[in-house]
């Protein structure tokens, strides 16, 4: 079970974080996912140095509608490549949600997180402990706890395969 418990620092974002703020349109011509990490949050005011300073294992923590805007999968690749193990948000924008699932990239839906961020109950730099199996989230800096829901239904099966392409290959092999 231990491997399901992750520890890292929180990087906290607002509601409605648009894909241009996660991965700006200036870098859309990039086709190599490995090169996308360096541009993460470059255009987010106050988080310009995120790509340089975030450590593998740190968490992205956000309010409602994370990843609203463009269809660019770059906005998932960049965080995945940077080693952010999971995005915690109150909710995810539709296309971002699909792109995360399709890449086997974990997201947790955390009820009340938007208000908690606004009320300062989780702040930049807080040490978090996240159990990705149970969804239990502890802010070790201030003792606050949250609960995150993992994806369900077909999305859960796709995640378990490691992504959409892997899922399709597994399905084809079964036939």
């Amino acid at each position: 079970m231990e491997q399901n418990v992750l520890r890292g620092k929180a990087w906290v974002f607002t509601d409605d974080v648009d894909t241009d703020l996660i991965y700006h349109n200036k870098y859309l011509a990039e086709t190599d996912p490995k090169k996308m990490a360096q541009y993460s949050f470059e255009y987010y005011p106050g988080k310009e140095k995120f790509a340089k300073e975030a450590k593998p294992g740190d968490f992205v923590v956000a309010g409602r509608n994370f990843g609203t805007g463009s269809s660019r999968e770059h906005a998932v690749y960049c965080l995945k490549e940077l080693g952010i193990p999971v995005v915690l948000a109150e909710s995810f924008a539709r296309i971002y949600y699909r792109n995360a699932i399709n890449n086997g990239y974990p997201v947790l839906f955390v009820k009340g997180l938007s208000d908690a961020i606004k009320e300062g109950k989780v702040k930049d730099g807080d040490e978090l402990e996240v159990n990705i199996a149970t969804g239990e989230i502890k802010d070790l800096t201030n003792g606050n706890t949250f609960h995150g829901d993992a994806v369900t239904d077909l999305e859960k099966d796709i995640m378990a395969s490691g992504g959409l392409i892997e899922y399709l290959k597994a399905q084809a092999a079964k036939k």
Partner: protein, 425 residues
């Protein structure tokens, strides 16, 4: 229990009786990619299939619109990746850099029918819901999956019903209603939902207005906005896409007892020109409230408001101002497609725009990206008919007001944010 439009569309595409919340695999009628996202799709497809063949070359299309023609070597090389792939795979529906904005080009070329399930690497694909198609923006992995076996997974969404009645006052248009609606419902006001639009205002509206309406569903986090074609729009579509359109309109319209998650009613009579103020689409005020704001650039175009009717509305404002624009702002007009550009030429607009000092460009997505001419320097303020205005979207540290084509042109005339009713007297 009756079905909504999206339920009927997904039933047709999946061959299954569906309920809200079901996850189903749908047959894809058209899977498209553009110069942005397209190269990623091609490279990923070649990698995972070891350069295999696509499921059906006739159901794949490429459009070149975000950076067209290429302005940098990297972009030029990306575009070549698409052209080479299309040739190798026998894909003939390639609308190169001379065509214009993808969704509009597909529509004009008769590739879109009500009920079609259409994918594209553009979050505003869903504007094709303006003719009753279920089109949706997706990432490259979804596109690649569809190219392998011609299907893709969807969650059957709830449907919201919005009825719009009344007539717009002079100087006010569908874009203003949309901006009002984004302000009212908020950035996630249609979260994951399909939306059906009804009412006399919708029934009388042009294709351009329906495109505006359905494109901005994305800015409220909706899945797709749907309007079943009627009247002149239906005639136009039948001419382009064939008589099958008529059957689809009958079989896929919502049942009278369909179940909706919300039933909202609006009356546009008395609505004023509206603006999405910096730095979010749902930061909405009336143009009157925000009038006089300093601006540096005006841009009219995009998949939301780049049709002939949009440019004609801007032209009317310019005409009312004796074809004089302010020297203090840079004014750029970008038609959505070559067909629209030709219409503008035939109507005599382009001559007048050029004489007034307007920059009239080739058809592209233009200022939806900072990787295009017209990018704003830090601290500059733009007025634009595009669909997003998050800080720095078209240049780090820049800000944008989103408005109608009429408000945009009125602002170009006065050199500050201006209510078009001050000019259209």
């Amino acid at each position: 229990m009756g079905k909504t439009m999206i339920q009927k569309i997904i039933q047709r595409a999946s061959g299954k009786e569906v309920q809200v919340g079901d996850r189903v695999w749908c047959k894809i009628d058209l899977s498209t990619a553009r110069d942005f996202g397209g190269p990623n799709c091609v490279l990923q497809f070649d990698e995972v299939t070891e350069k295999g063949k696509v499921w059906d070359p006739d159901k794949i299309a490429f459009t070149f619109d975000l950076q067209a023609p290429a302005h940098a070597e990297k972009v030029a090389n990306n575009q070549k990746i698409i052209r080479d792939f299309a040739k190798r795979q026998g894909i003939t529906k390639v609308f190169d850099v001379n065509w214009g904005i993808g969704q509009h080009v597909l529509l004009e070329n008769g590739l879109v029918k009500p009920g079609d399930v259409i994918l594209g690497t553009d979050s505003h694909m869903n504007l094709l819901g303006g003719v009753g198609a279920f089109a949706t923006g997706v990432g490259n992995t979804d596109i690649v999956a569809s190219w392998i076996n011609g299907t893709l997974w969807f969650r059957v969404p709830e449907t919201m019903k919005i009825t719009v009645n009344g007539s717009f006052a002079r100087g006010v248009c569908m874009r203003d209603f949309l901006t009002f609606l984004v302000g009212k419902l908020g950035a996630d006001g249609m979260f994951f939902k399909a939306v059906e639009f009804y009412g006399e205002t919708i029934e009388k509206s042009s294709l351009a207005d329906r495109i505006t309406l359905c494109s901005m569903v994305t800015e409220m986090s909706g899945k797709v906005g749907l309007i079943m074609p009627n009247g002149e729009v239906l005639d136009w579509l039948v001419k382009r896409a064939g008589t099958e359109v008529l059957d689809r309109v009958q079989t896929l319209k919502a049942d009278p007892d369909a179940v909706y998650s919300e039933d909202l009613h609006f009356d546009v009579t008395g609505l004023e020109p509206m603006a999405s103020c910096p730095d979010a689409p749902d930061n909405v005020k009336t143009v009157r409230e925000a009038a006089g704001a300093h601006i540096d650039q005006v841009h009219i175009g995009s998949c939301s408001n780049g049709r002939f009717e949009d440019i004609a509305a801007a032209f009317e404002v310019l005409k009312a101002a004796n074809f004089q624009i302010s020297d203090s702002v840079r004014t750029i007009i970008t038609p959505s497609t070559r067909e629209v550009m030709k219409q503008c030429a035939e109507a005599g607009f382009i001559q007048k725009f050029l004489e007034a000092g307007v920059i009239f460009t080739n058809p592209t997505c233009s200022l939806c990206t900072a990787e295009h001419y017209g990018v704003l320097p830090g601290g500059d303020v733009g007025v634009s008919t595009t669909n997003r205005n998050f800080i720095g979207k078209v240049g780090k540290g820049s800000h944008t007001y989103l408005v109608s084509p009429m408000t945009a042109m009125a602002s170009a005339v006065k050199g500050v944010l201006t209510d078009p009713r001050d000019i259209l007297k």
